[in-house]
Symmetry: C2
Subunit: 193 residues, 2 copies
């Protein structure tokens, strides 16, 4: 059957699909939502959905690779003179531009993930993959182990804490400020004060 | 068919099955090993295997709940005067009794996990579950967030680092010493020194 939509150019198809998917995951639950329903809500076809996303979870995790590349590139390009934790913290602060613009999306996404065990696991794996990519890049900068992996893990703990505060606190805060505050807090707790 | 072994008391059946499974996972790979082969190698029946373990991965993860309970209990019982990071570090140091006795088992187990993506994910989830249980217990001690979750995450980062050194360094080191050294290293890296 010829599908008239197939050839039509849909400049914002990706965003519409993502928005429709998030809304439906929130309303009905992730498991209960079908790709057909997402496409319908977005006024597009299933075929168009699969042109942008491999499957239903992909709608929630398509940004992970870009985030990782962004952070890893900043770690690679930081001045040699900076301490590893400062390099990682600066790279994480720089993600603020990305997050500050997507607070509504991020909040809805997080609620969907929190409600589903498989998605929580995938989120865990995403963060572990990011930690491991950061640790590898630190090693390439000449940081030895265990400092490289500890610094990366510390960075990810800071990131998670900042993100949780950013999502859950009613006052809209700057993500970069929360990264700095979380790092200060981590320094305080590890120092035992 | 009546199985003569069924009713026989096998005092070390669990250990024999675990040892046989680890050896086979190492020799043939986790995926390629069947429960029938494990039972045969241990000189026992499949039925006996399933009396001790729900499935093949369970052989590798059956200690997780006990480890978590042990650590969480120590966190709960620590003196009120101790700083949260000291409470967590002491609880992790106390696992040394468990690990120091099982270095051969732990080394083989880790090699099997490193070789299989699904098992690596399950190990990640195990560590995240432990972090979350420790954070909950810290909250019950009156530690507020984000300090509770940051302290727990810092503790798990220290644990992972100590464990990796303990497994990979040829000289047999005391696990508790490695926990202390890893915590010192984490303090140094977060301080930016």
């Amino acid at each position: 059957m010829y599908d008239g939509r197939m050839a039509r150019w849909e400049p914002d198809a990706r965003d519409r699909l993502q928005q429709a998917a998030l809304d439906l995951y929130g309303e009905r639950g992730f498991e209960q939502t079908t790709v057909a329903e997402i496409a319908k809500r977005a006024g597009l076809t299933e075929r168009t959905f699969f042109r942008y996303f491999a499957d239903k979870p992909e709608v929630l995790f398509s940004g992970a690779a870009a985030l990782e590349e962004f952070v890893v590139t900043l770690v690679a390009e930081a001045p040699d003179s900076e301490a590893p934790i400062a390099v990682v913290a600066s790279a994480l602060e720089a993600t603020a531009g990305f997050f500050n613009e997507r607070r509504d999306f991020s909040t809805k996404r997080q609620a969907v993930i929190d409600a589903n065990a498989d998605l929580r696991e995938r989120e865990l794996i995403k963060m572990a993959t990011l930690a491991s990519a950061v640790a590898d890049q630190l090693r390439r900068r000449g940081v030895s182990d265990p400092a490289a992996s500890l610094t990366a893990d510390a960075g990810i703990a800071v990131f998670k804490t900042a993100f949780e505060r950013w999502i859950s606190e009613p006052a809209q805060q700057d993500f970069a400020t929360l990264i700095r505050e979380s790092l200060d807090e981590l320094k305080a707790v590890t120092a035992g004060t």
